[in-house]
């Protein structure tokens, strides 16, 4: 067990830090949250800067145009980026973390040549069409149909929870090509250009009153058979391949952000008054902050544990669900605490009386989704119970 970074890792960190110091001031100002073209431009500008500096596709294999970095280097990259306040992966998320790796692993040479460079350089933005209104936790029950018609697939149906749909160039899609096969069997993985006729996008308003997601409707949308990745009806396996790219780094930025946030909340607690004293004088609140500090110390250690495991074995460990369960519930507790700390100011999703209630309450609302998105806590507990502990499957 060694928590010391190697000299090479330290060098990587130092160079990255130096570059971040230099590059970040060159970024244009952050666009407004609802300005989707602006957000696309901002995110892809950053991706282009990473590309030019040699940091694009850090964790992608070299043959795919990436840097073939180790999981540990990826961890360092994410940690330093977060500490420096660099932009999140944003609009490049699906391309860099899902579609690109999948095409590289399961696509044809031609597909690799056609799609991967644009993802790395920030030229192309991808969105995801997996979930459907009727297929959430039970993704394999999806019903969006694609029927073969000569050299084309004709897609009909709808998808939900699609981010960046309005500004994406391509959509990675799962469609049902054999309605008679068992549900995991008749699914196919397709690439759909977003300018194909027949696609309608309807923004999906969240509890925050914003539209981070969209519903996407497909009405006789035709794509060439050549846009299929993998074999027909083999889409489920193709999708599972993507999962194997997760190397314990999925939540690095968020853990670092939460650790920073706890310091901010402590500062806030020392500032806000409740009747006679500051909130910090309330030992219950202080201990709660202390407890959460321990949780994130442990989650950070578990991150390193999972990343090291992935570095050794090349495949993701069983720790993902364990991590996700505790992390999402603990992060919710942080925002519960922030809510409590703000008292009546928590009724404003904007800064009031010099308190940072805008950002905190926005995230507090967002936190409701942590235990739902990407597998509810209930599903994660099933996974831990069944796949790790070997308890019998649900009947």
């Amino acid at each position: 067990m060694d928590l010391r970074y190697t000299e090479a890792e330290e060098r990587f960190r130092a160079e990255l830090r130096a570059w971040l110091d230099e590059a970040l001031p060159k970024l244009p100002p952050k666009p407004d949250r609802n300005d989707w073209p602006g957000r696309r431009a901002y995110d892809t500008t950053w991706q282009r800067m990473l590309f030019d500096a040699g940091y694009a596709g850090l964790h992608w294999p070299v043959e795919a145009g990436g840097k073939g970095a180790t999981p540990t280097e990826h961890l360092i990259y994410l940690e330093e980026s977060e500490r420096a306040g660099a932009p999140y992966v944003g609009a490049n998320f699906v391309g860099l973390l899902h579609a690109g790796p999948t095409i590289n692993a399961a696509g044809s040479d031609e597909q690799r040549r056609k799609y991967l460079p644009g993802i790395l350089s920030g030229e192309d933005v991808w969105c995801q069409g997996f979930s459907e209104p009727g297929a959430g936790s039970d993704l394999a029950s999806l019903r969006c149909r694609a029927v073969r018609d000569g050299d084309e697939y004709v897609i009909n149906g709808s998808k939900i929870w699609t981010s960046h749909a309005e500004v994406a160039d391509y959509c990675e899609m799962l469609v049902r090509t054999d309605p008679d096969a068992p549900k995991h069997k008749g699914i196919t993985w397709l690439i759909v250009p977003m300018d194909t006729p027949g696609i309608t996008i309807r923004p999906l308003e969240t509890v925050m009153g914003t539209s981070e997601f969209a519903e996407v409707f497909f009405d006789d949308v035709r794509v060439p058979v050549g846009n299929r990745v993998g074999e027909e009806n083999d889409g489920w396996r193709v999708t599972m391949v993507t999962l194997s790219f997760e190397r314990g780094t999925a939540f690095v930025s968020e853990v670092v952000a939460c650790q920073k946030l706890l310091h901010d909340l402590a500062e806030l607690a020392k500032k806000v008054t409740r009747r006679q004293a500051t909130a910090w004088d309330d030992v219950a609140l202080r201990r709660e902050l202390g407890h959460l500090t321990a949780e994130f110390e442990a989650l950070w250690a578990l991150t390193k544990w999972n990343v090291s495991e992935a570095s050794r074995s090349g495949v993701p460990g069983i720790g993902g669900s364990v991590f996700k369960l505790r992390f999402s519930e603990t992060k919710q507790k942080v925002y519960d605490l922030a809510h409590r700390l703000l008292d009546r100011a928590a009724l404003c999703v904007e800064d009031v009386a010099g308190l940072p209630s805008g950002h905190l309450m926005d995230e507090r609302l967002s936190s409701l989704s942590y235990t739902i998105a990407a597998g509810t806590s209930q599903i994660q507990r099933n996974i831990v119970g069944e796949r790790i502990l070997g308890l019998p499957k649900e009947r």
């Binding site: 999906l204 008292d343 404003c348 904007e350």
Partner: protein, 328 residues
């Protein structure tokens, strides 16, 4: 002892439910929040109807033109208000109706929309200011009356609950004294219990919404309410609701007849249990709804956000716990 609804009380609750569902059904509620927003989120015509139904004059003696009922009946009414998310300073106006004089009469009749704010709050956030006719300020010495037009505040552009607009106010005007410290203490007690009743209605409705969704939504070839993980979330929501109901009704009966209990325990206990039920049910109902629970179009978030607002009114959790500890 007969701690069950009397026939009259049952009729009252049914009547108010029918009124609420008729006059402020889901469509109208969604219309108000999504399309036709009105100043202060209070519809004057509806306010008048509420007044006619007795929402504000319920506990005013018959001799003074009121309905002449007690707190036990009032909590049944305000529970129904919570169930349908009736907006506006209902509890404040109801309390004002007890002050007598022009102010009381105006509040009781629905001519005056009356808000209330606690001078000790920091920051001071006034609810529904744009529509108020009178603002009452609870301070150390009692209650003072302030003209809303004399309150200079900044409108909060993005209040967490879309039904509860807020103004941030640096300092409140002096105004005129309309109640002494005892009256203010009564306001706080009754305000806590009536607000707890609203929370009870919210908690109950959230239980219904989650249960209904759990019966309809299918995943893995069966309705999700058949999975213990979901079923048990719904069960806990019901437990919280029923625990809160017992506490709220009991506190209300004790307000009417203080010898049957100890108000120093009953009131904060009711508020604490009801706040807990409403806010935690909001969280659990969101979870039961999965991704849909994170969308604006499903009502759950509107209930949760309203519950957050009420949880800060007339005593928050920490304050109530301290008050209860002091009785030991």
């Amino acid at each position: 002892m007969d701690f069950q609804l009397s026939e009259d009380q049952r009729d009252l609750a049914t009547g108010v439910r029918e009124f609420c569902e008729g006059r402020f059904d889901r469509d109208r509620m969604r219309d108000l929040v999504d399309k036709n927003r009105v100043p202060g989120m209070v519809d004057r015509a509806l306010w008048t109807e509420l007044a006619e139904t007795g929402f504000f004059s319920l506990r005013v003696p018959e001799a003074e033109g009121g309905v002449g009922l007690g707190s036990a009946e009032a909590v049944l009414v305000y529970e129904e208000a919570g169930r349908v998310l009736l907006p506006g300073p209902l509890v404040a106006t109801h309390l004002a109706a007890s002050l007598g004089g022009d102010l009381g009469a105006g509040a009781a009749s629905g001519e005056l929309i009356v808000g209330v704010v606690d001078a000790e709050d920091s920051p001071i956030l006034v609810e529904h200011l744009d529509v108020l006719d009178v603002l009452l300020v609870l301070d150390e010495d009692g209650i003072r009356r302030v003209a809303p037009s004399s309150v200079s505040g900044t409108a909060v552009k993005n209040p967490v609950d879309p039904f509860t607009p807020l103004h941030h106010v640096e300092a409140l005007p002096e105004g005129t004294r309309v109640g002494d410290a005892d009256t203010a203490a009564r306001f706080r007690r009754e305000g806590a219990v009536l607000t707890a009743a609203v929370q009870l209605g919210i908690a109950g409705r959230l239980t219904e919404l989650a249960t209904q969704y759990a019966k309809e939504r299918e995943q893995f070839g069966r309705v999700i309410g058949g999975f213990q993980a979901v079923k048990h979330l719904c069960a806990e929501m019901l437990v919280r609701t029923e625990i809160a109901r017992a506490a709220v009704y009991s506190a209300a009966v004790t307000l009417d007849d203080p010898v049957v209990g100890d108000l120093a325990v009953a009131v904060p206990a009711a508020k604490l249990m009801a706040d807990d039920a409403a806010t935690r049910n909001g969280k659990d109902a969101t979870q039961v709804h999965g991704g849909m629970g994170f969308t604006w179009e499903v009502d759950v978030h509107l209930y949760l956000k309203r519950a957050w607002v009420h949880a800060t009114q007339f005593g928050g959790a920490e304050e109530n716990e301290e008050a209860l500890a002091a009785t030991l």
